[in-house]
Amino acid sequence: MSETKYSICGMCAVRCPVTVQVEDGQPVWIEGNANDSGMGRSLCAKGAAAFAQRDDKQRPQSPLIREGERGEGKWREVSWEEAFAYITDKLGAVINEHGARSIMFSDRGGPFADLRKAFVKALGSPNYINHDCTCGRNVHHASKSVYGMGRKGFAYDYANAKHIVLFGRNITEALKIKEVKSFLKAVKNGCHVTYIDPRASVTAGKATRYWQNKPGSDYALLLGIAHVIIKKRYYDKDFVDKYVNGLKEFRSFIEPYTPQWTAEETGISAEEIEEFCRELNQDRPKVIIHPGWMLARYRDSYYASRMIHIINALMGSIEQPGGLFYPKTPKDAGRSGLKSLGALVPGVDEERADGCGTRYPQWDAGAGMLQTAYEALEKGEPYPLKAYFVHRHDPFIALPDTDEQMRILNKLELIVSVDINFSDTAWFADVILPENTFLERASILRTEKGLKPGFGRREQCIAPLNNTKAGWEIYLEIARRMGKGEYFPFNSIEDIWTYQLQDTGLSVSDFDEKGFVKLCDEAIWYDRDNLKFGTDSGKIEIINEKWEAMGVPSLVPYEAPEAPPEGSFRLLFGRNGYQAHGHHQNNPLLNDLLRENKLWINTRAAKKLGIKDGARVMVTNGNEQGTIVAKVTDLIHPEAVFMLHGFGTRVPAKKRAYKQGLADQLFMKGKLREWDKAGGGLNLAESFVTVTPV
C-alpha cells in the first residue's frame, strides 16, 4: 500500500514542511511539501539524510540508565517502565527535599515547545529554559528595546528587496530553504547584496559587495554607516518623523563616528562606506539589514543588533514590500489561535533560578538563560537546582568550555536526556529516553506566522524502528506518574490536536489535504500610516527609557575589541549547509560529505608562521590543545582563524565522528562566564588561540 504523509522535517531547527511517501510501512521517498509554494519539492542534504538517521544503529535504541560514572559511557538497556520508575523516584525525592522549583529543563525552543513548557509548569517549576543564550538572545533583546517586540516579530521580504545587507548572516549555509530561495530571487533580479564577515562564506560569493572587516568591529561599522546616513540625510524623513523617537540624541551620539574614524577601526575605507550609504539611499525603502540570527558572538553584539534595528527604521523599511514585515498571526486573519497546553496548568509563583526578570530584569522570563541557571546551580542561589531535563539540546557543545560545564552539572542529583542521538550532553546523563525520529512521531500542531498565517501539522509517517517514544508520550507519562495527569487529559495526539483547535473553527481532518491550513488567501499588510509598536510610547525607540531604568543604556560609545596577543588569533566558527549543531556529523550519509573540519588561516599569517595549506597545525588555548588541517586562504582576515562547529565529539558510540576534527567550544576557556551584559548572548567569538606548525 502506498501512502502520502505530510510531516515537518526534524533534522534541524528550521523545520521545513515535507512530504513522505510510504509503501507497505516503509519510507521510500521524502521531499519538500510542494503544497507550500515557497518550499516546492526542495529539500536540503540534512532532510535528505532523514531515512539514514532512522536506520543508523549508532543511536540510543531503547531507554538507558547509567551504570558507571557520569560520562563514562557504561549503560544498561532498560524497559520504559523501569526508566520511568527510576526518574519518578528520583524526581519525587528531589521535590520532597528541595521543592519542585529545583527542577530545570532546557530545549531548543521552536514551535513545539508549548507542550514541554506545560510539562515544566505542571511539575511546579518556573525553570523552563531554551538554547537562545548561544543563539538569538542579543537580537531578541535588541529588538525589544527598539520596537518593543521580539526578534520573531519581523520577517524579511527578500525576493522584492533592492538591497540586502548581511552582517555575517550566512543565508546560503546557515540554511533555511524558503529563505534562500527568496534571497536568490532577489539576486537574480539585480538586488544589491552587501555581505560583511571577517571570513568569506559561500554567501560572500553571491554578494555584490564583500567587506572583510576587522573581527569584532561590526558595531563600529554600523556607527559609521549611521553617521553618514544622518549627516547626508539619507533617511526616510516622513517615516522617521512619524514613528521614531530620540533622533536628536542619536544625531549628537553618532557625531564622532566619521567615515575616517570607521575606516581606522574596521579596515573598510571611508570612500567605500560613503558609496555604500549612497546606494542605500537610492535603494530604500526596499532595504533589509538583517539584525542577526545567531548573534552570541561579541560583547557588544546587542548594541550592533540594536544599531541595525535603528538603521532599518531610518530606511523606512518596516512593514514594507522588499523590506521587513510583521509575520501576521491567526488574529490578524480574524481567527483564534491554537489553544495553549499550558492553559490547563496552574501558574507557578516562584522566582526563576536564572534571574530572568529579577537579577537580570531586562531579560525575558519566557526563554530563560542557561548560563545564569548554571550560575545558580553552582552557588545554590537563589535556591538549589537538583534535577535537569535536557531535551534534544546539547549544551556541552553549544556553550563554551565543556569541562567546566561537566563540573557544574555534576552537582545535580538527576540528569535526564531526551534525544534521538547520543549528544555529548546525553552521554553525561543518568538516563537517556530515546525519542522517535521525526518520521516516526507526531507532534503538537504549530502556528505558522507570515503574510498568510496558518497552522501546520507533523503527522507520524511510519512506525518506530526501535524501542523509542514520541516526545508527547514521554512527557505526558512522566507528568501522569508525578500525579499531574489531570492537566493533560489526553490519550492520543488526536486528543491534543482537537484541544489545540477548539477555538479555531478547524478540525483535525482539515490538515489531511496539504499538511497545513492557511487562514486567508491574500497576504495581509498593515496600514503603514497607522503602525503601532510594542514600546511604551508605541513608537520605535532609539532611546528606550524603560530599558535605561533597568540599567541598559540605549546608546553606548564604541570600545574597540581586544587585539589578539602577538602570535594569537581570534577564533571564529560557523557552519556549512549540510551539517549543523553537531547533530549530523555522525549521520551515515552526511558523515560521507565531511569528516574533519579544517582551520582557515590567512595566507600572510600562515606564511609568517611557516604553515602550508593542507598541513596539520597545533591549535592551543591554555591547557587545551589539538591538531587540525590548515586551509590557507585570503578568504579570512589575518587576525582570525575559523573552524566549522560541531566536530570532535567525545562520544565513542558515535564511531564515525568520534574525535574527528576539533571542537571549537573547548577552546573558549572561561567564556561560560562572559556574556553580553545587555542582551545576554554568550561571547562565543571572544577567544584567542595560538597556531603552530606540527
Binding site: 526542495s42 542534504a45 554578494a207 560521507d592
Partner: protein, 168 residues
C-alpha cells in the same frame, strides 16, 4: 550520449550538496561513493570572492569507454534513450570501467564489491519523474532536460539579455 542532459545554473547554486545526498539516499552507492558530486572552486578575487560549485555526474557517452572496457557486459546502454548503466548481476567487480573512464565516473561500492554509477534514476524517468538530484535541488539550479531544449533555453535567455542591454 543519452538523449537527456542535466544542466546547472552555477549562479543559483549554493553548494548545499543536497543533490549528492538525495542521490545517495535513493541509490545507495555505498560509503564514500557518489554518483554525482558538487565540486567547489573558489578564489579570493576582487571585489567579491569567486565561490562556485560545479555539478558533475556521468556524461552517458555515446561511445562510452566504460562499456568498451567491461569484460562481462555488465556496463551497458539502454537502447531506448542511451542511458549507460550497470547490470549489477553481471558485474564481477574488476573495476576496468573505473580506470577506462577519462573522468573515473563509475563508483566502487565497497559493501557489495561491485561498481555502480548514475543511471539518471531511470526508474523515475520511466514514471515520468525527474532524477532525485534534480527533483529536490534546494535552489532549483539543476535542470533535467535534453540537449536541444537546453540550447533553446540558453539562446532565448541570451536573446532577452541582448535586447535588454540595447540602447533604444
Amino acid at each position: 550520449m543519452s538523449k537527456y542532459l542535466i544542466v546547472q545554473d552555477v549562479a543559483d547554486c549554493i553548494g548545499c550538496r543536497a543533490c549528492e545526498v538525495h542521490c545517495k539516499s535513493k541509490n545507495h552507492p555505498g560509503p564514500d561513493a557518489f554518483y554525482c558530486r558538487m565540486l567547489k572552486v573558489e578564489s579570493a578575487s576582487e571585489p567579491t570572492p569567486k565561490i562556485n560549485f560545479v555539478y558533475l555526474s556521468c556524461f552517458h557517452c555515446e561511445k562510452a569507454w566504460c562499456i568498451d572496457a567491461c569484460p562481462t557486459g555488465a556496463m551497458r546502454r539502454r537502447e531506448k534513450d542511451g542511458i549507460v548503466y550497470v547490470d549489477a548481476k553481471s558485474c564481477v567487480g574488476c573495476k576496468a570501467c573505473i580506470t577506462a573512464c577519462p573522468w573515473t565516473v563509475p563508483q566502487w561500492n565497497a559493501e557489495t564489491g561491485k561498481v555502480g554509477k548514475c543511471d539518471l534514476c531511470m526508474d523515475r524517468i520511466d514514471q515520468g519523474l525527474e532524477p532525485a538530484c534534480v527533483a529536490k535541488c534546494v535552489t532549483k539550479c539543476l535542470h533535467f532536460t535534453t540537449p536541444s531544449e537546453a540550447t533553446e533555453t540558453a539562446r532565448q535567455a541570451y536573446a532577452e539579455q541582448l535586447m535588454e542591454n540595447r540602447r533604444s
